[in-house]
């Protein structure tokens, strides 16, 4: 009996079926695995190099007479030392203006598309427009802000920079807010109707607070994008060697400082550009990780 069984097993594994993995099939697998590992190797080289050079060049400049980078103004050509305190402030100011314009607008839009008009023509149109808007090249957002703010106000300003950034932040905020609103189960809405709440009461007192982690995620992601954007600020916020005194003046930002100082032929300015780049990248990575932990805290 046992002998018979082992015979049968042998039959199945060796003869009858042609199910063996032939050498050619094995080699195909090995070849492809090799190719893919090579892809990973080639991809890691430049991406790793960027991170390494950022740390190497950025850290060495940051810790060269330490707090000066954060407290001093950008140096003129051929002058040693200096920092970019005004650019840090400028980045914070332009990003804040961008957020103030885009967050209320984006959240209200998401409330319409999910709460009031889910699936109707207008919300489909909004979805389409959001997708198109997120694909608009950033330099075009800059030209738009130039056209509507700089030309009407007559000069380059922090406000114009904020308007340009808000165009780029809007789609991110709309999408994450929509995601958050959709994550709320319909029982909550039925409950709200059941206790006689109006839409406004329901949205502001129950639904929005529950969506807050998602909105916070959207805002942080949008800020992370805005902080690194250079092209939209080139002809809107421009640049300034000094501390900003008002919102209607040209203002320095970290990203434009990186651009100006990276293409300048002066070693000190170049090294400052590396330090600024390191700060921006660390900031963006910190904010992106923060955004992830925020979404992890779901209420429903």
């Amino acid at each position: 009996m046992t002998l018979n069984q082992s015979d049968k097993i042998q039959d199945i594994t060796s003869g009858g079926f042609d199910s063996e993995v032939t050498a050619a099939r094995k080699n195909f697998g090995k070849l492809m695995t090799g190719l893919v590992v090579a892809c990973v190797g080639i991809a890691i080289l430049p991406l790793g190099s960027i991170l390494f050079m950022l740390l190497k060049n950025g850290l060495s400049r940051l810790f060269l007479n330490f707090p000066s980078v954060f407290t001093e103004l950008p140096p003129p050509p051929l002058v040693e030392g200096g920092g970019f305190s005004n650019a840090i402030m400028g980045t914070i100011i332009t990003c804040t203006i961008g957020a103030l314009l885009s967050v209320p607008f984006g959240v209200l839009t998401a409330i319409y598309t999910v709460e009031f008009g889910r699936g109707n023509k207008l919300s489909q149109f909004v979805r389409f427009c959001t997708n198109v808007l997120s694909g608009v090249p950033s330099i075009i957002a800059g030209l738009f802000a130039y056209g509507i703010v700089v030309l009407t106000m007559g000069n380059f300003s922090a406000i114009a920079g904020g308007v340009a950034l808000s165009v780029l932040m809007m789609p991110i905020i709309i999408r994450t807010a929509e995601e958050g609103l959709k994550s709320i189960p319909s029982e909550v809405r039925q409950g709200l109707v059941g206790i006689g709440a109006t839409n406004f009461q329901g949205v502001t007192s129950v639904i929005l607070p529950a969506t807050l982690p998602f909105i916070a995620t959207g805002v942080t992601l949008a800020l992370a994008r805005a902080a690194g954007e250079t092209a939209p600020l080139l002809f809107t916020a421009l640049f300034s060697q000094f501390q900003a005194r008002s919102l209607s003046e040209p203002i320095a930002t970290l990203s434009v400082l990186i651009y100006n100082f990276a293409i300048a032929p002066y070693a000190n300015q170049n090294s400052l550009a590396w330090a600024a780049a390191l700060i921006i990248v660390v900031l963006i990575m910190f904010v992106s990780i923060l955004a992830r932990t925020l979404t992890a805290r779901k209420i429903y």
Binding site: S19, R25, K26, F28, G29, M32, V36, A38, C39, V40, A43, L47, S49, I50, M53, L54, F105, T109, T113, E115, F116, G117, L122, F125, V126, C129, V132, L133, G135, V136, P137, S138, I139, I140, L143, F144, G147, I148, L151, T198, N199, F200, Q201, A224, R225, A227, G228, T230, F235, S255, I258, A262, I263, W274, A277, I280, V281, I284, M285, S288
Partner: protein, 320 residues
Amino acid sequence: MTSQTIAKSETLIESSQKFNPVRLVDQIFYWLTVATALGVGFILLWIAWSLLSIAFPAIVKFNIGFLFSTSWNPVNDAFGALPQIAGTIISAIIALLFAVPLGVGVAVFLSENFLPTKVQTPLGLLVELLAAVPSVVYGMWGIFVFVPFILPFLQGIHRVFGWIPLFSTPPSTRQMFTTAMVLAIMILPTIIAISRDSLLSVAPELRQGAYGLGATRWETLTRVLVPSALSGIIGSVMLALGRALGETMAAAMLIGNANRINISLFAPASTISAMIANQFGEASGLQKSALFYQALILMVMTLIVNMLAEVIVNRFQQVE
């Protein structure tokens, strides 16, 4: 009994028709959200309109011939966009040629269990974070690290293959080819992240079925998993193409801004966005209009690419 209920409902209707601040606030709130929803579309039109209105003098003067003219002469007011359009498309295509095979390969690697999950998840996270590194940082890395590193290799290629027109000029420090490679590195995280997502979202039953039929891991990948994730992968490529077309900073810093079309990839060239970034500061009058005209062309190009991407991704979602 019945009369009582009727009376009650009448009061209910009456109360609903009375002035009620709570209901008024509700109505205002509703129409506010409608207004912002319409506003998103309005912003899009406003962007197009503001570009169009400033570009208008150039559109009237040069008409469609702008697309095919290579001149850029502020003194004689003669402007064209052909070198920039060509540079934009060529740099994006070369970038895709490098980035797509690499990106899909890495995505396959990261979606399979070649590595333990403890290593894989942080790697995936790292890729997504790299997608958020600003393009100006990529541009700076290109200037100080990548170009000095790659130039000797390109000189070697020029010496050996100089008879091929594509490599016919001695590699300059600011040129098309290195720009395209930096663009490729820049769009790589986008392709990896989205392709990996779509590979991971393929129904596990398909993989199980393929294994059950006796397929090896790579037969499953090449004949089942990659084909079923294909529209997601193509979508990621289209999004990356959109990003490469519209990319400003890396191109402005690396491409050399030469207003001519050169068959050699090692020669300086120009793209639309690099042209705008470089010339806008000093431009005035018709030159500014011409730059806005170029921006309009860029917007139409990216619009077409992004819409195609959306159509492809939507089809992908319907299959699921």
